[in-house]
């Protein structure tokens, strides 16, 4: 919301300077977004008289002027057709920056004739569109003086951000009222005396709850020319384009009083003007040149022939006023705010009127608003007003809040004396008890109010409906900066962990991953449908995505990480180790997940290890196990199984290499992680050269740790040394290492505490695996017979799987 300082002073009688006004606006909740002083850019320009004008010797279209800008004649070359002796215009001296032309003037020869500055057009000064010639000022304009102060262009433009609850401050008067309440002077009375009317009012009616009240008045015999200089200047200053007096009056009053109005050219109307519900599919050509197709339930203003107005949002092109208009109908209506909001959203049509109506204009201001508008029309355009026709009635419902002034202290944290609170509320237009006006306040009257105050809310404050709102009113005027900080009492007792087990788990896994050399990325939660497809597709998609690339809620963290991997490799990154902890979005909810991608060089080439090496599926397995261990999963009990096919309940699509990937499961059904190499066709889709290893770890599938307290299970390190024995087996092809190790380990559960494959030999028809077992004696050392017995059990267990001891 923009307005100028002089405009504000029309409503506010104040001694305060601009700086104080700006600070106060922000302090009371009307945040100043900016202040511009157009006079600043125009300060160097002066009023100057052209003394003589002669043809340029070298150019037909140029003239050589002698200009007096207050210090005697200066030679200026000028191309404007209207430049002539005696013209009084605006002059920029060498060194002056010309905002509209974006140049800094200097003394220069133009076609061989020296020019000492420039006579300017309106566009060059950015004060208008005119560029047909230089500005022409009245004869008596003071030569040598500042043009900006002469033309009254030193009026600072203030831009204030109005929060959606403050419709009343979408007019300059509301802002002035807040400032007056804040102590910056007094609110001037508003003259709203109706012009003496003659003749019957226009035929209008309302047939819809979307427009509870439609007041209208005719003015006949108007002349619709340019609006006066003061009005055009103000509208231009705030970025509104002056159009014609009648249009400018409605725009001016909307800014001035926050009261939207509409003026119809009566010559275009056929029959009575009616506010009614639109019929489905009805069309209207709006003032912005676009045709809107309306739905049933929207409110329109129409006559017998056509729709003339999308009620409260935008007028129609057809019935708008023109320079030829002589008879007008001025409409001052109240539209249902919710209806306006819905219509505006549905049509995606914003306007100054909609902004105000949907926030709820003052329902008690229809008569005054119309009277003020009519007076302006009569004053500026002439004509004779008719009586006012009042169709329907605006919903003026007195709202009274029962207020305990102590709430200011107990909720707002600021003890404001009751009398002061009453005066603040009164100055904002509230009434307190029987005191209905700020000037009516007296201590005697105030002291008669007992107990909770009945506070009546002014009609223009639709947002205020409870005691907490009154606390806000008092505090923002008194100064929220005066609220003293009060320490929050400490929670009694010993500090307890404030993070949930899930959060602690996430933190552990995150820091474990970073400690293992992985870089944490944060990627979008939405991906393209194409990228989601190999991971089973997205269960959720956006109805209004920013782009197709960010449309589907990710079913996996890998697409985002693969895109990031692609970008990194394209930038010449040698090795990529990225991980992310976030949610994947499934049909039945959001699941915390860790995704991890290993691409490029596992290690760079080096003088010790030779050539660079890439990542393989076992790197992915190592990361998966390490992170599961960090998460507290029972890593030793996990089973490695293939990634389930779609038939087995796995996801559709080809994300993983069928032979070089697996799942880590706790029991046959609970999948804690997928790991391995990614499918080449997936990599191709992401424009990646493989091989690339990846892990997905399902944090939600991890079993909750049982609360076992802080004490550990008792333990004393065994006194005796462990014994190691090696076995080399020839195994049938297809026997998984894991199966062999489990069998060996299980051969003697008392003595064998560990078993692992430490060597592997594979030939076409033969596969051999060497397994080391660790035996832990408990009370006495093993005898040879003991060891042989264990060895026999190991060999027997392996034999069951078809493995034979190598000769």
């Amino acid at each position: 919301m923009k307005f100028t300082l002089s405009w504000l002073r029309d409503h506010l009688d104040t001694e305060a300077d601009l700086d104080t006004i700006l600070r106060t606006l922000t302090r009371v909740g009307l945040e100043v977004e900016g202040v511009a002083d157009p006079g600043e850019a125009l300060a160097p320009f002066t009023v100057a008289r052209v003394l003589s004008a002669e043809r340029h010797p070298q150019a037909d279209k140029l003239q050589v002027l002698q200009v007096d800008a207050g210090n005697g004649p200066l030679q200026v070359v000028c191309g404007a057709p209207n430049a002539r002796a005696g013209l009084v215009g605006v002059f920029g001296a060498p060194g002056t920056y010309v905002p509209g032309a974006d140049i800094t003037l200097k003394v220069a020869a133009i076609r061989g004739v020296e020019s000492n500055g420039m006579m300017c057009s309106a566009r060059e000064l950015q004060i208008g569109e005119g560029h047909d010639g230089i500005i022409e000022l009245p004869e008596d304009a003071p030569v040598g003086e500042s043009y900006a102060s002469y033309a009254g262009l030193t009026d600072p433009v203030i831009d204030v951000s109005i929060t959606p609850n403050r419709q009343d401050c979408m007019g300059v008067r509301g802002i002035a009222r807040d400032l007056a309440a804040a102590g910056l002077g007094t609110l001037k009375p508003l003259a709203a005396e109706p012009v003496a009317a003659s003749g019957a009012g226009p035929a209008v009616r309302t047939d819809t709850p979307g427009c509870p009240a439609l007041f209208a008045q005719n003015v006949s015999g108007v002349t619709n020319g340019d609006s006066p200089e003061w009005m055009r200047r103000r509208l231009t200053a705030i970025g509104q384009k002056p159009i014609s007096t009648l249009v400018d009056i409605t725009n001016y009053l909307m800014i001035d009083l926050g009261r939207p109005l509409h003026v119809y050219d009566r010559a275009t109307l056929a029959g009575p003007l009616v506010a009614r519900a639109a019929t489905e599919g009805e069309e209207v050509l709006a003032l912005n040149g676009k045709t809107y197709r309306l739905s049933a339930g929207m409110t329109v203003i129409a006559d017998d022939a056509a729709v003339h107005d999308i009620g409260g949002i935008m007028g129609g092109e057809h019935s708008g006023v023109t320079p030829a208009t002589t008879d007008v109908l001025i409409e001052c209506a109240y539209f249902d705010p919710d209806g306006i909001a819905r219509t505006g959203q549905a049509l995606a049509l914003t306007s100054d009127a909609r902004q105000r109506f949907e926030r709820g204009v003052d329902p008690a201001f229809l008569d005054d608003g119309l009277a003020i508008a009519t007076r302006l029309v009569v004053d500026l355009c002439g004509g004779t007003p008719s009586e006012v026709t009042r169709a329907g009635s605006p919903p003026v419902e007195p709202r009274v809040i029962s207020y305990d002034p102590d709430l200011c202290r107990t909720l707002g944290g600021l003890a404001v004396p009751a009398a002061r609170q009453a005066r603040i509320l009164l100055s904002l237009g509230f009434s307190v008890g029987a005191i209905d006006h700020a000037d009516a306040y007296s201590d005697a009257l105030f002291s008669q109010i007992e107990g909770r105050w009945p506070v009546r809310v002014p009609t223009w404050r639709r947002d205020v409906d409870g005691p907490a709102d009154l606390v806000e009113e008092v505090i923002r005027i008194e100064g929220i900066d005066r609220v003293a900080a009060v320490p929050l009492p400490r929670v009694p007792g010993v500090a307890r962990p404030t993070a949930t087990p899930e959060q602690k788990l996430e933190r552990r896994v995150r820091r474990a991953a970073a400690a293992r050399g992985l870089d944490e990325a944060v990627t979008w939660s939405f991906v393209s449908a194409r990228d989601a497809a190999p991971f089973g597709g997205g269960a959720w998609s956006l109805a209004n995505p920013i782009s197709e690339e960010l449309k589907v809620m990710r079913p996996s963290l890998l697409p985002g990480l693969l895109s990031a991997t692609h970008r990194n490799l394209a930038r010449g990154q040698g090795g990529v180790r990225l991980f992310e902890i976030g949610r994947r979005y499934l049909a039945d909810g959001e699941r915390p997940t860790l995704g991890l991608v290993l691409a490029g060089d596992r290690r760079p080439r080096g003088w010790r290890e030779g050539k660079a090496a890439g990542f393989d599926a076992y790197d992915a397995k190592a990361e998966a196990l390490a992170l599961l261990a960090a998460a507290g999963a029972p890593v030793d009990n996990l089973q490695v199984m293939p990634v389930p096919s779609e038939a087995e309940g796995g996801e559709a699509g080809e994300a993983w290499h069928p032979g070089r990937s697996g799942t880590l499961r706790l029991g046959p059904k609970t999948i804690l992680a997928r790991f391995g190499m990614l499918h080449p066709s997936l990599l191709k889709a992401f424009d990646l050269d493989g091989p690339i290893a990846a892990v997905e770890l399902y944090l939600d599938a991890l079993p909750a740790k049982r609360g076992s307290g802080l004490a550990r299970a008792p333990y004393a390190p065994p006194a005796l040394q462990p014994v190691r024995r090696d076995f080399a087996f020839i195994v049938p092809t297809g026997l998984a290492a894991d199966a062999l190790v489990r069998a060996v380990r299980g051969a003697d559960k008392v003595n064998i505490v560990a078993a692992r494959v430490f060597d592997l030999f594979e030939r076409e028809d033969e596969r051999s695996m060497a397994v080391e077992i660790v035996l832990q004696p408990s009370e006495k050392s093993y005898t040879d017979a003991d060891l042989k017995a264990v060895a026999d059990k190991v060999v027997a267990a392996a034999a069951k799987l078809g493995a034979t001891l190598r000769g």
Binding site: G29, A468, I475, A485, L488, A499, A515, W524
Partner: protein, 381 residues
């Protein structure tokens, strides 16, 4: 006899000293102290001596044996040391050759700052709460006193889910249970927390939030932290203290200055936006500093908006089934990405979500930089 022994001592010590290596030294040892060695032989003569003679000669011969043995031991040490030194002299490596460093991973600034917030607020007794990112209309808007037609909904550039749109079209949508949008703020966690827990409540809720907005300073996904306190007798003064304490702890400065500005959020009343003062120091924008420099957004400093806050609206408290006459409190919401940018001097929001390893290495944090109260919340560059 005396002369003989002296002569023998001199000769043997000379032989020890002259031994060029361990082998030669051993020859000298055998010659002197071996079974057939000359000193061994001399010791054997003691038995045949008279007691008087033995008393004289015994110590002399023993003295000789000890002196020679000591000389041999010393020479042996010297020769061994020389041999070791000679070997070591040949064992040289170019110690300037590079070694492979273990890859150093990083924690994303957003995660780091979330951990910092959890730590700071844990000290104030706030637990960490979470909620879904795909929300219902009711939790994201209606329960927060933002009705359908409220202009505030337009401020929120909401991403709607197709499933919700379809359900509405089919008439099967339930405002309270139909997941229909991506949460536009972390405030629905307030609602979920109040519904699930009895006051007193103190929580923060960090997490991802979404708005249909994309330009240099806005991303369609961003991070917020919500704070909520519901108790008896909580006032705006407690809110002010909490925010001051939080921001002081976060920026690790005592000279943090806050400016509360009355504002409007449908779910708080009274509401305030909170600006934090900054000053320019050596061409850098620093949060905090001399309040005089912050006045009027001049060349020395100014204000920047960091969060929105207020006293929880009685309608919100009532919507969660609590009695607003008994329970009141405050709530605030703050952009985590922005906090991270301000604290750690990061200037490009979009880079947060690109996954550029160079950026992550530069702005990320070590796994060991765990924020703690004793060790400091922030991690130095």
């Amino acid at each position: 006899m005396t002369d003989d022994l002296d002569q023998m001592r001199e000769q043997m010590l000379a032989a020890v000293a002259a031994s060029p290596g361990l082998d030669a030294l051993d020859v000298v040892r055998v010659d002197a102290l071996g079974k057939q060695g000359r000193i061994t032989q001399l010791l054997k003569t003691l038995g045949a001596m008279s007691p008087d003679q033995r008393q004289v000669e015994g110590p002399r011969i023993q003295g000789l044996r000890e002196a020679v043995a000591a000389a041999i031991a010393a020479r042996k040490d010297a020769l061994e040391a020389a041999a070791l030194n000679a070997r070591l002299a040949t064992e040289t490596l170019d110690m300037t050759l590079p070694v492979d460093a273990a890859p150093a991973g990083t924690i994303h600034p957003v995660s780091q700052v979330m951990d910092e917030l959890s730590e700071i607020f844990a000290d104030l007794g706030f637990a960490v709460a979470t909620g879904p990112e795909m929300e219902t209309d009711w939790h994201n808007f209606s329960a927060l006193n933002i009705p359908d037609t409220h202009p505030a909904r337009a401020m929120h550039d909401t991403f709607y889910l197709q499933q919700g749109v379809d359900a509405k079209a089919a008439g099967t949508a339930d405002e309270r249970t139909t997941v229909s949008l991506l949460r536009t703020h972390t405030s629905p966690v307030q609602i979920r927390t109040m519904l699930a827990n009895k006051p007193p409540i103190r929580i923060i809720a960090p997490g991802r939030t979404y708005r249909s907005d994309s330009d240099a300073t806005h991303t369609p996904m961003f991070h917020q932290v919500e704070g909520l306190v519901i108790d008896r007798g909580i006032t705006l003064g407690h809110l002010k203290w909490t925010l001051e304490t939080f921001l002081k702890a976060f920026f690790e400065r005592d000279d943090i200055v806050l400016r509360l500005r009355p504002s409007y959020f449908p779910f708080t009343e009274p509401s305030a936006e909170v600006d934090v003062g900054y000053t320019w120091t050596k061409g850098k924008r620093v949060i905090g500093g001399d309040p005089d420099k912050m006045r009027g957004d001049g060349p020395n400093g100014g204000w920047m908006e960091v969060l929105g806050s207020g006293m929880v609206h009685p309608k919100v408290i009532a919507a969660c089934g609590l009695d607003p006459a008994e329970w009141q409190g405050f709530a605030f919401g703050c952009g985590i990405d922005r906090l991270a940018m301000l604290k750690y001097g990061i200037d490009d929001l979009r880079a947060f979500f690109d996954g550029d390893i160079r950026w992550l290495k530069h702005y990320g944090f070590s796994a060991l930089d765990v924020p703690t109260l004793s060790g400091g919340i922030g991690a130095a560059a």
